[in-house]
């Protein structure tokens, strides 16, 4: 029977894993070690600014253990969505970490680096030709929004990873990739069914989150055969149950039966989950249904300004009773003081914790019952300087505003910090969440083979 075994150390590269669990996985002789290094969950900033949301030292710790094990056992290490968002700057950041690991270990690593960033001019051309379609519920974007978009990536499917595996590298560093593909590629390359391989990848990419108790910082092992796969958490404290695995299938997705990805859909309508023993679950019946036309999902974020915030609180019942009116009045004072500014050059926001700070428009509770309120005064403006200025003025206005019935005339706000205002820098919003039809699933993902750690020819 054909069989491919994959070791998934951690849910996100840099989230860590116990070395004992990892060693147990290695003892089972995996065919590859694979890890997902990214997500859009931390928000648009990281893609837009080209910065990782994971910590460099934490990523290096995880990757070093994986790379040393891969070399020792002569199996490839695959990293998907390198650097958190998978644009070129994120890839470069990861390559730099690998260089440090190579220098520290003396290893020479044959590495395939797969880019996933698209040139903006090319995306603008596709946009002008009407070839970009928003992926609902994302909305249509404007030409200006596209033009403000800094980094544009496409989620690669399994095909570029398979092509990279043909080079028999020690390491594959992929830019933005559909989460399951680095786990599924070795199996699909070996001729095993794509539906099961991708479904297994969908679970392995979260490592032990699908176990009970779940953890994003512990290892999971997957064994794929012709008609099923088996999941086993590598820490004896955890087990996979039908409930834990099925429940994970719901996680973070709108429709648990149809998982759309590059080039097709993983159909779980006929998936069966079965407990093999105390700790292992067997899954069968998952199918991959290829789309007639291959589409790639593009992601991008655009810069919308610069942010400054001020954090404060109030404990005064007279003030709390009138908080909405006080905010309106402070807005007016800011408006009146900066009449020469364009209305769209800044946005002033008040976040009131204890009222609707967490849920805003979705909050069903309308009455404030708290004895104190947390207040964040926030300004997003065209420049950092303007954000600082407006935030400072709004803060001082709110501090000293003489609202009706006030008895505490020394100041309306308690500030926990000095300085009271924080410059939060660039602000991004997601702009691209669009599908692009392509003829060739590999063409948008140029790859480069580099020997990291080897002496350079020009040395």
């Amino acid at each position: 029977m054909r069989e491919i075994k994959i070791l998934s150390p951690t849910a996100i590269l840099g989230y860590g894993f116990p070395e004992e669990s990892f060693a147990k996985g290695l003892a089972k002789k995996p065919d590859a070690i694979a890890v997902d290094a990214g997500s859009t969950d931390p928000g648009p900033y990281y893609l837009g600014a080209g910065i990782s949301f994971t910590d460099k030292e934490a990523v290096k710790r995880d990757l070093k253990i994986m790379i040393k094990a891969g070399k020792e056992h002569n199996i490839p290490v695959l990293v998907g969505t390198a650097g958190g968002s998978g644009a070129n700057s994120h890839l470069d950041w990861t390559v730099e970490i690998v260089r440090e690991i190579a220098a520290e270990t003396g290893l020479i690593l044959q590495t395939v680096v797969i880019q996933a960033e698209l040139a903006k001019a090319e995306v603008e051309e596709k946009f002008n030709q009407g070839k970009l379609k928003p992926l609902a519920p994302a909305e249509e974007l404007t030409k200006d929004q596209l033009s403000d978009t800094t980094n544009i990536v496409a989620q690669m499917g399994v095909e570029p990873i398979i092509k990279a595996l043909e080079e028999e590298p020690d390491l594959i560093l992929a830019g933005r990739a559909y989460d399951p593909v680095v786990f599924a590629a070795p199996a699909i390359k070996a001729g095993l069914p794509a539906g099961l391989a991708l479904h297994m990848g969908k679970i392995l990419e979260c490592a032990s989150i699908a176990a009970d108790p779940g953890s994003g910082s512990d290892c999971m092992f997957g064994t794929l055969r012709d008609d099923h796969f088996i999941l086993e958490p590598l820490n004896n404290k955890r087990r996979c149950t039908v409930t834990s695995v099925a429940a994970h299938t719901l996680y973070e997705k709108a429709d648990p039966y149809h998982l759309h990805g590059p080039g097709g859909v993983i159909n779980l309508t006929n998936s069966a989950f079965e407990e093999l023993d105390e700790r292992r679950v067997k899954v069968s019946g998952s199918k991959f249904v290829a789309d007639e036309i291959y589409t790639l999902k593009l992601e991008g974020a655009r810069r919308v300004g610069y942010r400054t915030i001020s954090i404060a609180g109030t404990r005064d019942a007279i003030m709390i009773d009138q908080i909405d009116e006080i905010i309106d009045e402070v807005r007016k004072m800011v408006n009146d003081n900066f009449t020469e500014l364009n209305d769209d050059s800044y946005q002033l926001l008040f976040r009131i914790y204890g009222k609707d700070g967490v849920m805003g428009a979705l909050e069903p509770v309308q009455e404030v019952t708290s004895h104190e309120l947390g207040i964040i005064i926030e300004v997003v403006a065209d420049t950092q300087q303007l954000a600082n200025t407006i935030c400072s003025f709004a803060r001082s206005s709110m501090l000293h505003y003489g609202y009706p019935g006030r008895v505490a005339t020394a100041g309306n706000l308690a500030f926990p910090y000095s300085p009271s205002d924080f410059k939060a820098g660039e602000v991004y919003e997601f702009s691209l969440h669009h599908l692009l039809e392509v003829d060739d699933p590999v063409a948008y993902f140029p790859m480069q083979i580099v020997n990291i750690g080897a002496k350079r020819s020009d040395d």
Binding site: T40, D41, P42, G43, P44, Y45, L135, A136, P137, A138, V242, T243, A246, A247, T249, L250, Y251, E252, K253, A254, D255, P256, Y257, S271, F273, V304, G305, Q347, L349, R351, G357, V358, M359, G360, A361, L362, E363, P364, V365, V380, V427, Y428, E429, F430, H433
Partner: protein, 102 residues
């Protein structure tokens, strides 16, 4: 009247991509799942009322029997991390569901 909390192992919300939030109710067992199904507790009307949103912003309500679960997905008022948005991971929007009664 019994609180929904007596019937569930999990009530959670989370991003399903940057433009949608998905809510999972995973029931303790088959019996609890069936009871909630029979009471038709989780439906589009309840969701629009609880969250103050329009029917067209409820993207789907889906039963997932393998996990004795019901999940629904709504359009985010603002995309994750947009200016004025409040919950980047969408992980704290489940709370009103804790008040449901059967």
């Amino acid at each position: 009247m019994a609180s929904i909390r007596e019937y569930v192992d999990v009530i959670r919300s989370k991003n399903a991509g940057p433009y949608a939030i998905t809510f999972d109710l995973i029931f303790k067992d088959e019996a609890a799942y069936r009871k909630v199904k029979e009471a038709d507790l989780i439906n589009k009307k309840m969701i629009t009322k609880l969250y103050g949103i329009k029917a067209e912003d409820v993207i789907s309500v889906i039963d997932f029997k393998p996990a004795h679960a019901i999940k629904f997905t709504i359009r985010r008022p603002l995309s994750a991390g947009a200016v004025g948005e409040r919950d980047v991971y969408g992980a704290q929007q489940h709370a009103p569901l804790l008040t449901l009664e059967l």
